[in-house]
């Protein structure tokens, strides 16, 4: 009975061969980074023992957590995090998307121009793009326009990549430049402002309060956790949705399969070209949704919106363990990657480092994440 696995056809379960999920490592990295910042807060003399995430003394927000900062960290990464959910799928399918930031810019301008209100304080909207026919439209319209814009841009990426065999890097680089051009051309470079109240409420309202019919309006959770956090709530809901999609649907399985071995996927009868179009369209749609949240939050749209968001989104995914070689990674990983990204960026603000240091370090994080991924790939290749 030395060889129990024989004849049981895979029923045996070798615990030693069970992989430790990569997401655990990333979560531990997140905790470690938080710990480092907290330690620096205690050690650096000029910080005077401040804590980043905790607030033991005043308990201002009714907990020992510094809710204000935690909310800012989460809010900061939410909109780019939503883009990262799409970018994750693109990278898993074996591609890359450099156009998401520009798609945000173009979509921001276009959808905002259908979200304007006719009268501002009784005067005609000074930033009006279209005539009164496009004013005070039902909120569903600018949202639909924004999502459709994203889908169109993403589909163009996908069609170029799948049917002309241009490398994804080049195709989406072209889209990055062109979509930014569209953003600037749309209103001749002018910002588009003064949306309807409903549009502004997409990001600035309290979604959970609305969904619970205001029953818990005065509760601690509602005032301290969910208030002003709509983008974060959308991020969380979409992350859960796409976690499910990637793990439990045919779409998700084929995305992993193509990124893992495109020829095998093709020989198995998967329509690889069409699947890629779907994935890039999905990424475009998520970028479009991010644009809606961003313009709603800022109650204005500008042609430069979303600048280099694509790199932040890619960094979040790669930090979260999504392999640039394709086939590996997860939505949970990307959400953790987004958190790490957010903690590092606000950690630098907390340590009172100047903004230009932040940018330099951000560049460093992106490179470090890619180096880490290369290292993981080499290790995986050695195992195989």
């Amino acid at each position: 009975m030395t060889d129990k696995s024989h004849g049981t056809g895979g029923l045996t379960f070798d615990k030693s061969k069970r992989a430790w999920p990569n997401e655990f490592n990333i979560f531990i990295a997140l905790l470690l980074i938080i710990f480092i910042f907290e330690a620096l807060g205690q050690l650096l003399p000029y910080m005077k023992g401040q804590s980043m995430l905790f607030d033991f003394n005043t308990k201002r927000d009714g907990t020992i957590l510094n809710m204000a900062r935690i909310k800012i960290i989460i809010l900061q990464v939410s909109i780019i995090g939503i883009i990262a959910l799409g970018v994750t799928q693109v990278i898993i399918v074996g591609g890359i998307d450099l156009s998401s930031g520009s798609i945000v810019g173009a979509t921001a301008m276009i959808s905002m121009s259908f979200a304007q209100t006719e009268l501002v304080n009784g005067n005609p909207n000074p930033k009006a793009i279209f005539g009164s026919w496009a004013m005070d439209l039902p909120i569903i319209l600018p949202i639909a326009v924004g999502l459709v814009c994203g889908v169109i841009a993403g589909s163009i990426n996908g069609l170029l990549i799948a049917y002309t065999r241009i490398p994804p890097f080049i195709a989406t680089l072209g889209m990055m430049v062109s979509a930014r051009g569209v953003a600037k051309w749309w209103s001749k470079g002018n910002p588009i402002s003064f949306p309807t109240d409903e549009y502004a409420a997409i990001s600035n309202g309290n979604l959970i309060d609305g969904l619970t019919f205001g029953l818990f309006s005065d509760s601690w959770v509602m005032t301290q956790v969910f208030d002003g956090q709509n983008p974060a709530i959308y991020f969380l809901l979409l992350a859960i949705l796409f976690h499910f999609v990637m793990k439990y649907t045919v779409y998700g399985k084929h995305t992993y399969a193509i990124g893992s071995n495109e020829d095998a996927a093709r020989m198995s009868g998967i329509n690889v070209a069409w699947h890629k179009v779907m994935v890039y369209a999905m990424a475009g749609m998520l970028a479009g949704f991010a644009a809606i949240l961003l313009t709603s939050r800022n109650v204005t749209a500008q042609a430069g919106m979303g600048f280099v968001y694509e790199l932040d989104a890619i960094a979040m995914a790669v930090i979260g363990g999504v392999s640039l070689a394709g086939g590996r990674g997860s939505i949970i990983g990307t959400v953790l990657g987004a958190m790490i990204f957010g903690v590092i960026i606000s950690g630098f603000t907390y340590l009172k480092l100047d903004a230009f240091y932040q940018e330099m370090v951000k560049g460093g994080i992106i490179v470090a994440a890619v180096v880490l991924d290369q290292w993981r790939q080499r290790r995986a290749a050695m195992k195989a």
Binding site: D3, S5, H6, G7, T8, G9, G10, L11, T12, F13, D14, K17, R18, A19, V245, Y248, T249, V250, Y251, K253, Y256, A257, G259, S260, N261, D263, A264, A265, R266, M267, S268, G269, I270, M278, G327, R328, A380, K383, A384
Partner: protein, 258 residues
């Protein structure tokens, strides 16, 4: 062995630009029969397989499966028609586990109204995988393991178990044991014997003379894109086959071939 013809090709030809990889192949496989295809590297064996399985589009010629003429648009068509193939370059996705690979492209699903977002029925696929592996006595420590973490032999067994899991009308294996050790090779050969007992027809491409002599009924020799011999295993021997492979001999019926 009945006389029903499982697979028949006539004048099957494939040119890659100027390369005549396969030229005028006439081939027949009878019900329950196991046939080996032998020949040097580059002789056109894999090309022949790719034309029958719809992976590539033939330049010329006709193919019949169980009497019906077929024109596969892609590999899925061939698979749906009942041809299961273990390709020489393993068609496995490294980052997926065993059931995922077995059912890749033909997943068991529920909630099919969701279209591309229909749900995977993991439980049923796992059960079918375990059943398939049991039938072939393939040893895999943990089917939830990704293919990346498996040995060459285990990978090959997964690819072969895939053909055995689905009820196939014709199985094709392209050099299934080329990269395997002795024990792993024996395991693959056991699967082949089981197919024989079950009366399932097989085309086996192999360089291993002992294996071919042990397993098959008939040997077809390819040389430079052409079929040069069609030998009954009982009426030939290793030396004879090698003579055909190297070109020292050419079958009587194939005198016109190069």
């Amino acid at each position: 062995m009945s006389d029903e013809i499982v697979l028949k090709t006539e004048d099957l030809t494939k040119h890659y630009g100027g390369v005549h990889a396969l030229e005028g192949a006439d081939f027949e496989l009878k019900s329950g029969e196991h046939v080996a295809i032998m020949g040097d590297n580059g002789a056109g064996k894999s090309t022949f397989v790719r034309q029958i399985t719809g992976v590539e589009q033939k330049t010329r010629g006709r193919i019949w499966l169980y009497g019906d003429e077929v024109n596969f648009a892609g590999p899925l068509d061939a698979r749906e028609a009942g041809i299961e193939t273990v390709f020489q370059t393993l068609a496995l996705a490294d980052d997926l586990d065993v059931p995922d690979n077995l059912f890749l492209g033909r997943e068991m699903t529920k909630w099919n109204w969701l279209g591309p977002f229909r749900l995977l029925d993991y439980k049923r696929m796992r059960e079918a995988t375990v059943a398939g592996l049991e039938r072939t006595a393939v040893k895999i420590p943990n089917i939830r393991n990704t293919i990346r973490n498996m040995s060459g032999g285990q990978r090959q067994c997964v690819a072969i178990a895939r053909t055995a899991t689905f009820h196939s009308r014709l199985t094709i294996m392209d050099e299934p044991t080329a990269a395997l050790g002795v024990q792993e090779t024996a395991q693959v050969e056991n699967i082949v014997r089981q197919l024989k007992e079950a009366g399932e027809p097989l085309i086996l491409i192999s360089h291993n003379m002992r294996q071919v002599m042990d397993l098959v009924d008939r040997i077809i020799v390819f040389r430079r894109g052409r079929i040069v011999a069609n030998l009954d295993r009982r009426e030939t021997d290793g030396q004879d086959v090698v003579a055909y492979i190297t070109g020292a001999k050419t079958g009587a019926d194939y005198a016109g071939a190069a």
